[in-house]
């Protein structure tokens, strides 16, 4: 192609957004900069989706119109650092196209260059070795080489190759990347977008690969997938009382009870005369006939769940109804309000049982690889119904979400977050909880309990890396004492032994070992026997936790 127009650009954008969607979990996994919270891929994906949505319904020939709409969609939907940068790149890109209907390879290169300029303007001290570097180097290389005889797809292909090279060099520019052994995540996301663009120009628009992401890691982490048995994800917005024929009066409680008896994963939100419902059911027809007795549908969506689907927000004011399989279902409320309730975060059947035995009322499923969101806590808080509610996040990354939930509901509920950072801390805090005691005493006792236990864990490495000066090979097991990695070895029992040796001292009286998935009982028994002999006055308590990811969680008191 000598020139491209609005149609081509639209195809490129959709293809680029889909390609990023397909790979965003991979991009997340690279995220170590600026804050290693593992959300770069997700943020960029949401940003691109918002941009793609803006152009999806347009059919302009003019390339500028499409570029401008895309840029606006990106700006409005920008999420996170790399999302904001992406929106700026395309803002510049769009500015360069002003007044143009079609563009050739040279103009295309100039547009990218403008994108780079605009992107760089918005930061006082650009950090090199990031998405900015990738854009700068690839667009400069293209502008340097391009001439009138080039095809547009050739130019883009050239730029993609340069971007890949540039991405490879990011660890040389940003030491933290090198230390962890990854390339920059934002840059990787940008390369994915370019891949989608190139593919579209070669007449192969990338489709969303439905099997990627979202559900997968959650399943791994042992979330209950009750929804499986229900065939159709059904969503509708009902306007109560609308329509010509006489409608029955709508009673929230009764309606939700009917929904409950016909399916699960139910979310129902009412705002005046509008009700938004989400349900997984085998017979969507029955639900719809029932609902229609009360009013008329404004929108309807039914999807077969064996064909998984992505859920894009419809610009509705009730958009907080989110489709999430693991989220807590709307159920009949408990009859009476208790004095205290405890909400704990855990993953794994055994761990959940252990917490339940310690009077925890509600388990929010989650852990290291899948952090529950603030919303999950809000649902949990609303559900337990107690005068005072304690939350045990059991993970440093989850404390924030728990605090936010407590803050959001501060007027309606009395919520105290006990900042437990590990499962052993959470368990000890539960043990100290006394339903007869006063609130202040409980808070104090539980907080004190956190410090009384030393936490350790054994997990495996997903890549070759070096942290805290220890070299770790992929698939080797590593031992964590608190936050620090203290040992590594290919054999998990050996690592456990090394870790225990470090953690046990003359003050130790009880060692709790919580056994995860994939541990052989015989080998563990040998290990504990050995330790019991060596440390006569220490009690070893082995419990089945079934947690994923961590072979052993160890608490030393």
């Amino acid at each position: 192609m000598k020139t491209i127009n609005g149609h081509d650009l639209k195809k490129m954008i959709i293809s680029g957004a889909n390609q990023l969607y397909n790979y965003y979990p991979e991009v997340d996994a690279l995220n170590v900069f600026p804050v290693p919270d593992g959300d770069t891929g997700m943020n960029m994906n949401l940003t691109m989706s918002s941009g793609a949505k803006e152009v999806a319904n347009r059919a302009d020939e003019d390339i500028y119109e499409i570029a401008r709409a895309f840029s606006k969609g990106l700006l409005m939907g920008a999420r996170g650092n790399s999302g904001v940068i992406t929106s700026q790149i395309f803002r510049g890109f769009a500015q360069a196209l002003e007044g143009k209907k079609t563009i050739n390879a040279v103009e295309f290169a100039e547009a990218w260059n403008m994108g780079r300029e605009v992107a760089y303007k918005a930061v006082m001290r650009p950090v090199e070795g990031t998405i900015l570097t990738v854009v700068r180097e690839s667009s400069a290389a293209l502008l340097d080489q391009v001439n009138e005889s080039w095809q547009v797809e050739g130019a883009l292909d050239f730029m993609l190759a340069e971007a890949r090279e540039s991405l490879k060099r990011t660890p040389d520019l940003l030491p933290i990347l090198k230390e962890v052994g990854v390339v920059d995540s934002g840059g990787a996301g940008f390369v994915r977008i370019l891949e989608g663009f190139v593919s579209a120009l070669f007449d192969k628009v990338i489709e969303k690969n439905q099997a990627t992401a979202f559900e997968e890691p959650r399943e791994m982490a042992g979330a209950a997938m009750e929804a499986e048995e229900f065939g159709y994800c059904t969503e509708f917005i009902l306007k109560i009382g609308a329509g010509e024929s006489e409608k029955k009066p709508f009673v929230d409680k009764r309606f939700s009870n009917i929904l409950n008896s016909h399916g699960n994963s139910i979310v129902m939100v009412r705002d005046d005369d509008i009700v938004k419902v989400h349900i997984h059911t085998l017979l969507p027809g029955n639900i719809l006939s029932y609902a229609q007795q009360f009013g008329e549908f404004m929108t309807l969506k039914i999807e077969n769940m064996s064909e998984q689907h992505s859920h894009l927000d419809d610009n509705n004011k009730l958009k907080d109804v989110k489709h999430s399989h693991e989220s807590l279902h709307y159920e009949a409320e408990p009859a009476e309000e208790k004095d205290y309730a405890i909400i704990a975060v855990a993953a794994g059947a055994g761990l959940e049982k252990m917490f339940k035995e310690l009077r925890v009322d509600y388990i929010v499923s989650g852990g290291q690889t899948m952090n529950p969101a603030t919303e999950d806590f809000i649902t949990a808080i609303k559900k337990v119904r107690a005068k005072h509610i304690f939350i045990l996040p059991n993970n440093p990354n989850i404390i924030l979400a728990a605090n936010q939930a407590a803050e959001v509901l501060t007027d309606e509920y009395h919520v105290t977050v006990i900042p437990s950072k590990t499962i052993p801390q959470g368990l000890v805090a539960c043990m100290m909880f006394n339903p007869e005691a006063k609130l202040e005493e409980n808070v104090e006792e539980m907080n004190n309990a956190l410090a009384s236990v030393q936490s350790g864990a054994i997990t495996f490495s997903i890549k070759d890396t070096a942290i805290d000066g220890i070299n770790i090979k992929k698939d080797d097991y590593m031992a964590l004492s608190g936050k620090k990695i203290v040992a590594t070895h290919p054999d998990k029992y050996k690592v456990a032994e090394m870790l225990l040796e470090q953690m046990i001292d003359e003050m130790t009286s009880i060692v709790t070992i919580i056994v995860g998935e994939g541990v052989e009982k015989g080998k563990l028994r040998k290990l504990t026997d050995k330790f019991e002999k060596k440390y006569g006055d220490v009690e070893f308590d082995v419990r089945q936790g079934d947690q994923p990811v961590y072979s052993f969680l160890i608490g030393v008191e």
Binding site: D37, S87, A122, V123, M124
Partner: protein, 118 residues
């Protein structure tokens, strides 16, 4: 004010300037942040960008009961999504301060003192 810490080897006192410098340079590395501004820039009616050695004028750590809080005054580029920039600044400043000084900050309050068209 300065922040006092105690370890078993003795006390550590971290000055306002030090915290300002660290938080300030973390903030201006964030995308969309044009620079730090003085807290009083509104009253003085000049949104001057602070120079590196004066970063402490735009960063105010304080102690609220047992928690530390830091206020950061910034100028943002015109045309970026400000909510995102601000939340990135909060995340990054908190992360960098906690990593550098090993002090927990309960809150990072960001004040957008002005926009700058580029």
């Amino acid at each position: 004010m300065a922040i006092d810490k105690k370890t078993r080897y003795g006390g550590i006192n971290i000055s306002l300037e030090a915290i300002g410098a660290v938080a300030g340079s973390a903030a201006i590395e964030c995308y969309g942040v044009v620079g730090l501004a003085s807290k009083n820039s509104l009253r003085e009616n000049i949104a001057d960008l602070l120079k590196e050695e004066a970063f402490y004028k735009g960063v105010f750590p304080k102690k609220d009961k047992d928690d530390y809080i830091v206020d950061v005054y910034i100028i943002v580029a015109y045309g970026v999504k400000i909510t995102e920039v601000v939340s990135e600044v909060q995340k990054k400043v908190k992360y960098v301060l906690e990593k550098t000084f090993d002090i927990k900050f309960k809150a990072v309050n960001v004040f957008v003192q002005g926009l700058k068209s580029l």
